[in-house]
């Protein structure tokens, strides 16, 4: 009866020790599941711990309470798209893909063609535009034939046209290699344009205040539809906000 699940996240708490020695809770009671080929957007205010969440899932940080359980695979392949492209500047665009996707040259070349990077395959990252570098970072994440793609505000600091093009590039890659994807963003438009499901987070500590499943006919239905959808998502978030600006489920409920 239950839908297939690739990843189960149940983080009961994650805190950092500040300079004064006091522990500060950044994530609390984050619980969700991810199905194969599902794109889930996690939307929260800047600095609410979204990047921390990705680091925990990526296995870069093990210091938390709770559990992160993978189904159907012990050693998941995770392709991450960071906020900045983080390409190796001294390796060509193509090498940046093939170095992490060892033995998957054919897939790398396919993605380079599909994402319009083929003419730049032998260029070094400092020689291409930031938009192209971000494309290459997306291609790299998909080039490892991932079980999960993590995206950390992948279109931050791009102008609206470039952002839209970036989303198209991401969906191109995803349609070619459908995979589970978790995208964290502060931008509701990202969520509306890309996601099957949206998790709305509160600030300090971050916890899920609402979960919105997007009806199938409204998913990835183009910029116009996404715009309308983003509006209704913003309303859904506003409904969670109490008078005085506090978001229910954060300080109010503790």
């Amino acid at each position: 009866m239950s839908a297939p699940v690739i990843l189960e996240v149940d983080i009961t708490g994650k805190s950092f020790v500040g300079r004064d020695g006091a522990a500060q809770l950044v994530l609390e009671h984050l619980r969700f599941r991810l199905a194969p080929r599902e794109i889930v957007a996690v939307v929260g205010p800047s600095g609410c711990g979204k990047t921390t969440l990705l680091r925990l899932i990526d296995g870069l940080d093990h210091d938390f309470t709770g559990r992160i359980v993978w189904h159907a695979t012990d050693r998941p392949r995770i392709g991450t798209v960071f906020q900045e492209p983080r390409l190796l500047p001294w390796r060509t665009v193509r090498e940046n893909l093939t170095l992490v996707a060892v033995g998957r040259d054919a897939l790398a070349d396919e993605l380079l063609h599909a994402l319009g990077l083929w003419p730049f395959r032998d260029a070094y990252p400092p020689q291409i535009s930031l938009g192209m570098a971000r494309r290459a970072a997306i291609a790299r994440a998909f080039a490892i034939d991932p079980d999960l793609v993590l995206l950390d505000e992948p279109f931050v600091s791009l102008d609206p046209t470039m952002t839209e093009r970036g989303r198209d590039v991401l969906l191109d890659a995803w349609r070619r290699r459908p995979t589970a994807a978790l995208i964290v963003t502060h931008d509701m438009d990202d969520a509306a344009a890309l996601a099957d499901r949206v998790l709305l987070l509160s600030a300090n500590p971050a916890r899920i205040v609402a979960e919105v499943a997007i009806p199938p006919e409204q998913r990835r239905a183009g910029p116009e539809a996404a715009h309308a959808l983003a509006q209704s998502l913003r309303q859904a978030r506003a409904a969670e906000v109490r008078p005085g600006g506090a978001i229910s489920g954060s300080s109010g409920r503790r």
């Binding site: 870069l60 991450t80 983080r86 001294w90 170095l99 992490v100 400092p126």
Partner: protein
């Protein structure tokens, strides 16, 4: 006082053809290469380790500073006293003179490593060797070249002192014998020969390698 350049060049050619210049040059060069390799490899490893691990850095920092400031002559004499007038002591003394400055340079490089790229490599599960080769070493390249340049310069100077004090061959030994004869032309002939060799290393080895390492910069 100072012989004409042409006289020195002629003396150098004569020494090369009829004298022991090439043999001595070869011996000195072999010592330079050996000491350079030891100092660069150990110094680089030590520097990276000190840059990466704060505890190690704290433990060794004052030793490195002491060694960095110890006069070359003291190290050479002590090595000869402790280990005898042999090749190992000679090369070890030279390497020990250069090692701390290589370590200090590479420590700076290791501290400046890009954390974002390290995290990327970890996230994509790059292997240890791949990380070193494709992520770490390219970032250390400018530091390695800086250490190599200054290393070559210092090492060949110290090798000559080591030869003068405790070896019976090499350019340093030859210069000492010309010194006893007050033969300035002979001294300059050997000096010129070595300067040519060092320049050749710069042009044939260091500069092409550096161009290769920097080809991604626009």
């Amino acid at each position: 006082m100072l012989p004409a350049a042409s006289t020195v060049a002629a003396a150098m050619l004569h020494e090369a053809v009829a004298g022991p210049l090439l043999v001595n040059l070869g011996i000195t060069l072999a010592r330079v290469v050996a000491a350079f390799t030891v100092a660069m490899v150990l110094g680089t490893a030590l520097g990276i380790a000190m840059g990466a691990w704060r505890r190690l850095d704290l433990a060794l920092d004052s030793w490195v500073t002491v060694l960095l400031n110890l006069p070359a002559l003291v190290v050479i004499v002590l090595m000869y006293v402790w280990f005898g007038l042999n090749e190992w002591a000679a090369i070890g003394a030279v390497a020990l003179n250069k090692l701390p400055s290589t370590a200090v340079t590479l420590r700076e490089g290791a501290r400046a490593l890009d954390r974002g790229l390290a995290e990327m490599a970890e996230s994509f599960r790059m292997g240890r060797w791949a990380r070193l080769r494709h992520v770490v070493l390219p970032q250390l390249a400018p530091y390695l070249f800086a250490a190599a340049r200054s290393g070559l310069a210092i090492i060949w100077k110290i090798v000559l002192v080591v030869e003068l004090l405790g070896r019976s061959n090499g350019v340093g030994f030859q210069i000492e014998s010309y010194f006893q004869l007050f033969d300035v032309t002979g001294i300059l002939a050997y000096t010129l020969a070595f300067i040519l060799v060092v320049q050749a290393i710069e042009w044939v080895l260091l500069q092409p390698l550096e161009r290769r390492a920097n080809r991604w910069r626009r």
